[in-house]
């Protein structure tokens, strides 16, 4: 496989995953922004932290200055100049797919191409406010459709491994970022525990990773901050937890190594990160600092991505 192909497949998956995560993030933010506020700030604080989680607060401020629902949603959903917007993610994913048509199955290509064609047909300025949830659902469906097409049709060789790596590195990054931006919400504090604001915020976090329902099944308890952190960081069954992502990354990197018959440092880094998550317990993490833990994780995650691109000649 060409190094360029591996690079495009990896990023194609990342962008599809990113579009989906963005849809969730907007959905969670929108719900909270709609609620009657305790402090009454028209959702400004919520949108600020959403932009932070999406990693595009700076760009937004440079462009818009003031925070309001319409501008933030427009920026995250339709703004082609924002490289993390759903528009840009779908466009880039489709461009990569077009460049790598030979590596994709027909089903995968048609799914992406179809998404792009439908998305292009949306006229943002004519949208009524009730259209937003529908569009966000659609984005999640299309992303699931693409992954379904991939899982159902692709050969289990390097094409599959690089695609999976892109998905799970992006997903891990996303979960870690959401947690990091909201970590203060989860920190034990005497004044607010059990307040309705807490509950809303906690549910918001869980919603942004589609976990607000499954949480109940797993913990059979109302929302508790340390359990939410445990769930999203250490739980092996939760498909968007850091641990679950890393067990996928580990297994796909191992498969690549045995396919190519060569050992690479990226697998070492991934294995040590997975070890950390397998052995970790949430009390220790809170004691030594949730924020620090997450920062360290995000930088490890970036390192794995970088080492993969080096090891497999992405930019040869």
């Amino acid at each position: 496989m060409l190094g360029r192909t591996a690079n495009d497949l990896f990023w194609l998956s990342r962008y599809v995953e990113r579009a989906e995560n963005m849809a969730r993030l907007i959905e969670a933010g929108y719900r909270i922004a709609l609620l009657p506020r305790v402090g009454g700030d028209d959702g400004r604080q919520e949108w600020a932290s959403t932009l932070e989680s999406a990693g595009c607060a700076e760009q937004y401020n440079a462009k818009h200055g003031t925070l309001n629902t319409r501008s933030v949603v427009d920026f995250l959903l339709f703004d082609a100049s924002n490289p993390s917007s759903i528009h840009a993610c779908l466009a880039t994913a489709r461009r990569n797919a077009r460049a790598q048509r030979t590596a994709l199955t027909r089903e995968m290509w048609e799914s992406l191409n179809g998404s792009w064609l439908e998305f292009q047909a949306i006229r943002p300025d004519t949208l009524r406010s009730d259209a937003l949830p529908r569009i966000l659902d659609w984005v999640k469906e299309r992303s699931a459709g693409y992954r379904g097409a991939m899982l159902n049709t692709i050969l289990r060789n390097d094409t599959y491994f690089f695609s999976q790596l892109g998905t799970f590195l992006e997903r891990a990054d996303n979960t870690a970022r959401i947690l990091d931006v909201k970590y203060y919400v989860l920190l034990p504090s005497t004044s607010m525990i059990g307040s309705s604001v807490d509950n809303v915020q906690w549910e918001g976090i869980l919603r942004s990773v589609s976990a607000h329902r499954s949480y109940r099944w797993v913990y059979k308890d109302s929302y508790r901050s340390w359990r939410i952190a445990d769930y999203l960081i250490l739980n092996r069954a939760m498909p968007r937890s850091l641990r679950a992502c890393y067990s996928q990354i580990d297994s796909n990197l191992s498969s690549l190594e045995s396919l190519y018959g060569e050992e690479k440092p990226c697998l070492e880094t991934a294995k040590s990160t997975l070890g950390l998550l397998e052995k970790g317990d949430i009390d220790t993490i809170f004691q030594s600092g949730l924020h620090e833990f997450l920062l360290d994780f995000i930088s490890r995650n970036n390192r794995v991505a970088h080492e993969i691109s080096e090891a497999y000649h992405f930019n040869a």
């Binding site: 190094g3 048509r101 030979t102 064609l117 497999y312 000649h313």
Partner: protein, 479 residues
Amino acid sequence: MEQIRAADLKPSFDEMNGFGQGVREPYTAVSGWLNSLRVEDLRKKSAEAELLFRRTGITFAVYGDAEAAERLIPFDMIPRIIAASEWRRLQAGIEQRVKALNAFMYDIYHRQEIIKAGRIPAELVIQNDAFVPEMIGVDPALGIYSHIIGIDIVRTGENDFYVLEDNTRTPSGVSYMLENRETMMHMFPELFAENRVAPVETYPDNLRKTLESVAPDKLDRDPVIAVLTPGLYNSAYFEHAFLADQMGVELVEGPDLVVMDGYLNMKTTQGLCRVDVLYRRIDDAFLDPLTFDANSVLGVPGLFDVYRAGNVTIVNAPGAGIADDKAIYSYIPEIIEFYMGRPPILKNVPTYNCRKPDALKYVLENIAELVVKEVHGSGGYGMLVGPTSTKEEIATFRDRVKARPENYIAQPTLALSTCPTLVEDGIAPRHLDLRPFVLIGDEVRLVPGGLTRVALRKGSLVVNSSQGGGTKDTWVLQD
């Protein structure tokens, strides 16, 4: 601007109805099927097919048209049908022609017997822009220069077929031949039950076999093949990706390739990997910045040296364009006689080389009745169809021909055959041509069929997709 005359006046042979003596035999079943359909049904199917093409991404780009980065080539659902006996004759003519073309190229890049024999003027070859002097003395595998040739054939009567043009560089359109069939079988499976249509889907397999057969000698493993594309903004990118995919080989761009230790390599996830056969879909000039256009970023520095050393096969060979040069075209009957020792089976269209004074005089006097083409033009750009042009267009073109006569050839305007086609006001005859794709390697391989292009504008004789032409599925019937 209605500008249609001659094509309306001269009666054209219709593929379905001949000169009006009733439905021709090969069309019996399809004619019945057409009569059983309502135009609205056909339109609905047509819209469905368009959606299918759009989803699949079977698109092409039109140069000079920034708006439509990706457009669809209109697909017409009424097939163009060729009888088995007609095809046999075409096939014999095509095989004879492609062998002669390759023999010609071998000769002019070696001993130049045909020039010495005085059968073709030396300056026409040597001073031709399409002649690549770097190729002199190079010995391509099996002595083949043009491995993939698309021959444009038109018809004017029951038994009158003419070769309009040979495409010996990088003929395109074969993906449409394959996708059109795929679409037809998907939309109208019942038609294929009633008609014995020869399959075309062996083409990618034949292409791979052809490419493998011209790999450099002495390989102790299966040859590695790659398709070289200028990238996804090229008008034919879909086809490049399609063919690579259908053959199961890598689709590469210039920056994916590197010359190392005298071999061509591609940069893979596991480091460098040798490439033995490069099916390139970029022009000669861009192949190697060290040998040809120094500004090219599409090609590979040092590629030509690897080629000359026999360590990679470039398909089609650099310099293969000399055989489809429009000034050489008029000598093709001579060329066939010279190398094959027999008269050509397929006729050429009579051609006036404006470089000759008496021909120029005739062309300038009769320009309104002629088709005038630039010698190096392609894709329907830079041509004049006299009878369907305005006085101003004709005047402009006459000035251009006068200014650089050697740059133009002219041909009588042929009444191209027509075929019933779905257009805005229903089903009506439209002019068409046919491009079969021939593969030349250890043997000559020709799938029964080709790309039928149809001019969708009433009376128009220009079928090129870049000029708004459409395509049809092309059926060769089996006995």
